[in-house]
Amino acid sequence: MESLIVLYGALPYLLRGSLVTIAVVAGAMMLGLVLGIHLAVGQVYGGRWLRRAIGLYVWFFRGVPLLVLLFLFYFGLCSLLQINLSAFTVSVIVLGLISSAYQSQIFRGAIMSLPQGQFKAARALGMSDGKAIVLIILPQALRLSIPGWSNEYSIVLKDSAVAYALGVMEMMARAHFVASRTYEHLPMYFAAGFLFMILTYLGTKGLRILEEKVRIPGYSA
């Protein structure tokens, strides 16, 4: 009973934390999307050196643990370069950069799964490579990427809890804050976990609907 009262009292505080979580995830996913598309296009259509550089970038951000990168950027790079960024901003940037590496591979796979004849046909019409990529390749590749992107969303959502280590007051940080003062660990972490599950559900459900909405008629994918 005691636990439920604590939980009830802390819920608004926790829910406000979910808004921070949503902001971190939305920011990171968008940054990852914009960078990821460019990386994927560069990796498929770029020259040898560009492809190699992107390969290194992807290797780095997929290879180094999130916590290490957060500390590296926040405590290391920010003070080295004398820039004053908030823990929130650094979390969005780091999660976004990592996600861009993963997202680039989702988009790359999608681009490569398309019949390349369409690219040829677009160029034969007089389109530049850039136009053909933007008008013909990406609209199809992005559609095919939605399931993978949905998966990436659920991973970034959960990874965002690690931003707690920099002191970002997202859901996990708030759950911990309340738990360590009230000693009601079980209900607080359970509630935080449950809220993450709700956010996962809402996001993946939304992307499912989007996938259905932009489906190309007659195309069984």
Partner: protein, 255 residues
């Protein structure tokens, strides 16, 4: 007519991949309104030759003239403008899968030729009408038959007002029943005066409509001549052998 400038002339076109020369020193020229047909075994260089003409494949050597003007430094804007004048039809149609038939035709008009939406739409509908697909304009490629897809791709190419069309085995990916509707569209194109270079195995059709057959094998043009000569009275034994074999196979599927 001997002093007219050919609409397209290519000379010494050569392409190699590693050690393998897939196209050796191919030259040809074509006058306005002519239809020349490339025949020969698969892998003989027909497709490579066609794609070298609009630089989808970059030839290692060779020169191209369109309307008497040499196409040099084929890159950037000059290349895109040249490609608009050279329409291309592919074996696998290569329609844009995410666009309706109408938008497949419209996109080049709007995004390449810079036409306005409404005018482009009218023009696109007109081209689809010409290949008999006005009623299918709102359908997506996946909802069309192979023959319909190929006709959309013909409309898409025609909308750019090309001076010449390259057709790379336009019926090879089609069910036998659907071949004739595409051949009819090509016939109509021919009678409208379109200049075309086509590769095909439809030897009967080739014999019927071509001004000239070009036999291509192992990357080289072996023999060139009017259909009657190439098909029944070829100079080279290899041409005769190929033609007699393929005539047996395809002669009856031309109409």
């Amino acid at each position: 007519m001997a002093d007219t400038v050919p609409i397209l002339r290519i000379e010494h076109m050569t392409k190699r991949y590693g050690d393998k020369e897939v196209l050796s020193d191919a030259s040809l020229s074509i006058n306005k309104g002519e239809l020349k047909v490339l025949i020969g075994p698969s892998g003989g260089g027909k497709s490579t030759l066609l794609q070298c003409i609009n630089f989808l494949i970059k030839p290692d050597r060779g020169r191209i003239w369109l309307d008497g003007t040499e196409i040099i430094r084929a890159k950037g804007k000059a290349l895109y403008e040249y490609r608009q004048k050279v329409g291309m039809i592919f074996q696998d149609f290569n329609l844009f899968d995410h666009l309706t038939a109408l938008h497949n035709v419209q996109i080049g008009l709007v995004r390449v030729r810079g036409m306005h939406g409404k005018a482009a739409k009218e023009r696109a509908i007109q081209e689809l009408d010409r290949v008999g697909l006005r009623n299918h304009m709102h359908q997506y490629p996946a909802e069309l038959s192979g023959g319909q897809k190929q006709r959309v791709s013909i409309a898409r190419a025609l909308a750019m007002d090309p001076e010449i069309m390259l057709l790379d085995e336009p019926t090879s990916a089609l069910d036998p029943e659907l071949i004739s509707e595409v051949l009819d569209a090509i016939r109509a194109l021919r009678s409208s005066g379109m200049t075309m270079i086509m590769s095909t195995h439809q030897i009967g059709f080739a014999g019927e409509v071509a001004d000239e057959l070009i036999f291509l094998e192992k990357g080289s043009i072996v023999e060139t001549g009017p259909p009657a000569k190439i098909l029944y009275d070829a100079e080279y034994p290899r041409t005769r052998e190929f033609c007699s074999k393929i005539t047996e196979l395809y002669a009856n599927s031309s109409s």
